[in-house]
């Protein structure tokens, strides 16, 4: 077992899947000899050659559109988009085609591709490099959306995504690309999509989060010293509502934490579902700690925008006191 960063864990998953299955190919801007802007595809070009790790023209719709064709022809493309802010030009291909091809053709054509995209703030990047658009894609029927919060999960979830017969958007929280290391097995393992992880068990309150916010949640829990159950969604869609339901029925309280803007963020969806399923078990209103309904600010203010341990801890205390 090796002690790996998130970047190394993803790289390892890519290497192993490419070795195992020659239908897996990588394409995108700078993914070749340069190894990607975050070096996630480092060494792959040398190892697998220019025909399997392809530097494409600078064109996001082109990268996703050609990947759709590659996938329709039976390959397993893993396109990379450099930053989530540049998903915009590819939105049409993702939502008008990738998401619809199976149902449009009643299964005659499918799009088994995994779009890898760094996501979120916290690394002092310029504008359009720090957003959290996961709910936009979770709101698009036909796609699956994944966001790991640890190296171990990243490897297992990426393998599951590449092998999934449907299109997956694999969001990689860039803030924790190299923030810490974790024991990651060399051996093959798969973390099924659609299953949340209970990070720590607790009785007093449920917290739900995903991506790098999970780390801030852990800090906040430590700060309050309360007995809190933290659920890391791991997969944004399909949403593991059963795990949330079971926890909230046990604790009666829930705080949801995400980086994305509040309005129509995934927190709103989870909160509404808790109302549907757990209304009579609630001891307090479901609370959300989120980014704001503003444009993500330039980096001098990004830490004011992002939910931090102090803000989350306040929400925990308010919810506990209700």
């Amino acid at each position: 077992m090796a002690n790996l960063t998130l970047v190394q864990a993803i790289n390892l998953a890519l290497v192993q899947e490419m070795e195992k299955d020659d239908r897996v190919i990588i394409l995108g801007e700078d993914v070749g000899p340069n190894g990607g802007v975050f070096r996630v595809t480092e060494g792959l070009h040398k190892r697998f050659g220019a025909h399997r790790v392809v530097d494409s023209p600078l064109a996001e719709s082109g990268i996703i559109g050609t990947s759709i064709g590659l996938a329709m022809a039976g390959l397993r493309p893993v396109p990379e988009i450099q930053f989530e802010g540049f998903l915009g030009p590819a939105y049409d291909q993702l939502c008008s085609h990738a998401a619809r091809m199976r149902t449009r053709t009643r299964g005659a054509f499918t799009v088994p591709m995994t779009v890898r995209v760094p996501v979120g703030g916290g690394i002092h990047a310029p504008e359009l490099h720090s957003d959290s658009p996961e709910s936009i894609y979770a709101h698009t029927p036909g796609l699956k959306v994944v966001m790991p919060s640890s190296p171990y999960d990243a490897k297992g979830l990426l393998v599951a995504s590449i092998r999934d017969p449907d299109p997956v958007i694999f969001f990689e929280p860039k803030r924790i690309y190299r923030a810490f290391r974790e024991e990651v097995p060399e051996d093959e393992y798969v973390i099924p999509l659609g299953q949340a992880r209970v990070v720590c068990e607790g009785e007093e309150m449920t917290m739900v989060s995903w991506g790098s916010s999970v780390i801030q949640c852990m800090q906040a829990i430590e700060r309050t010293g309360r007995n809190i159950e933290l659920i890391d969604l791991r997969t944004i869609y399909p949403l593991d509502m059963d795990a949330i339901e079971a926890s909230v029925k046990k604790t009666g309280r829930c705080v949801i934490v995400h980086e994305a803007p509040k309005t129509c963020g995934l927190g709103a969806e989870i909160s509404a579902r808790i109302m549907e399923r757990c209304f009579l078990h609630l001891e307090a209103p479901v609370q959300r700690v989120t980014g704001f309904d503003t444009i993500m600010p330039y980096y001098k203010l990004e830490l004011e925008y992002l939910p931090d341990a102090a803000r989350i801890a306040r929400a925990i205390e308010e919810t506990a006191a209700y």
């Binding site: 025909h51 719709s61 082109g62 064709g69």
Partner: protein
């Protein structure tokens, strides 16, 4: 420093059977054997008749919006004829004739426009991709499909169709650039029919030809008379040979004309001169080919009469097949969403059956749920 010329080029236009019936023996001799020519003619006549029938079906409420192919039949047909059976055909939505030639059952196309997704369940072994509504996006899929063939070391190329309007879309340019730079064997076939709904071609492309757009991408390009089946077959055959040989993409501008409306929801009389339409009727690919075949004494009025009868029967049977396929069931739109339906979607499907408000059916256990009548949902 002197000023020097760094680039110049010219574009060829191919015409073999012109609108006056003049046939270029040198280019056209042996291009299409007579037996094939008769079958190709028959296919265009059938496609034209299907257009008329589909128009009536739409007007009588038996079909949704339908885009007629009238006037443009030679383009996709010529391409489908010239290509190998396992080359990808990546259509827009005015390529019926090529799809039928490839073997796509007529009832599937009818079913599609009748609002049933099962019409797009085109058997994979026909190497045709589904009809879709976004404009210009399919050229990237064609590039990916052909790329996959190249990756596997196969000689299969892709031919994708689009209108002049689609060449204004960003995806057109991205597809040309990907295919040219990565050397992917795609044929880009622009059916330049001069109108994108009500917007004339000059607003899509200010250059004198659409074909020259390909030059900017370093792509081999040609313009052909898209209402001349012979010219289309020659251009596609030549470009396919080049593409197969070099692995590089090629571009064809088929100059044609949309004789009908954009779709049954459109009325082209609002924006188009009747005189222009009348002029283009004289260049109709079907009447042109018929005149040629009559000249050659391989066709006559009696054969035409027999064909008309045969085609009418064939189309009527296709319509009957499409209309008698059992309607999709009310939970059908949950099917084929994913390879495996996520539990949450299963729940939604089950909730739908109870006419509930979106509650988890498990919560309704023991509760009295009034079953509502929804006659409009009954099949």
């Amino acid at each position: 420093m002197p000023i020097t010329k760094v680039f110049s080029t010219e574009i060829e236009r191919v015409s073999i059977l012109d609108e006056h019936g003049k046939f270029d023996e040198k280019l056209g001799k042996g291009l299409i054997p007579d037996a094939d020519l008769l079958r190709l003619y028959e296919s265009m006549v059938a496609c034209r008749h299907l257009d008329e029938v589909a128009f009536r079906l739409q007007r009588s409420g038996r079909m949704g919006t339908y885009p007629q192919n009238m006037g443009q039949e030679a383009n996709s047909l010529g391409a489908a004829y010239a290509l190998n059976k396992d080359d990808w055909l990546v259509p827009c939505y005015r390529e019926n004739c090529g799809l039928f030639w490839r073997g796509v059952p007529m009832e599937l196309i009818l079913l599609h426009w009748m609002g049933d997704e099962r019409g797009n369940a085109i058997p994979r072994e026909l190497y045709c991709t589904p009809l879709a509504i976004p404009i210009g996006t399919q050229m990237l899929h064609a590039t990916g499909l052909a790329w996959a063939s190249k990756y596997r070391g196969e000689k299969r190329l892709a031919c994708t169709f689009f209108g002049d309007g689609a060449t204004s879309e960003g995806d057109f340019h991205e597809a040309c650039n990907f295919a040219a730079n990565l050397e992917i064997p795609v044929i880009f076939f622009c059916q330049n029919n001069f109108w994108a709904i009500s917007v004339p071609g000059k607003i899509q492309c200010s250059a004198p030809t659409v074909a020259q757009r390909a030059i900017a991408y370093g792509m081999k390009t040609v313009q052909c008379d898209g209402n001349d089946l012979f010219a289309v077959v020659k251009c596609v055959r030549d470009m396919a040979a080049y593409t197969r040989e070099t692995g590089k993409p090629a571009f064809i501008e088929g100059v044609t004309y949309r004789l009908g409306d954009h779709t049954t929801a459109d009325d082209a009389r609002r924006y188009r001169d009747a005189a222009e339409v009348e002029m283009w009727k004289t260049r109709d690919p079907i009447t042109r080919l018929k005149a040629y075949m009559k000249d050659r004494k391989i066709w006559n009025d009696s054969k035409e009469g027999e064909l008309k009868e045969k085609v009418e029967k064939e189309i009527a049977a296709a319509v009957e097949r499409a209309e008698t396929i059992a309607a999709p069931t009310r939970d059908d739109f949950f099917n084929a969403m994913y390879a495996e339906l996520p539990p949450d979607l299963e729940r939604q499907r089950d909730t739908m059956q109870t006419h509930g408000l979106g509650e988890d059916p498990a919560q309704l256990e023991g509760a009295e749920v009034r079953q509502l009548d929804h006659p409009e949902h009954a099949h």
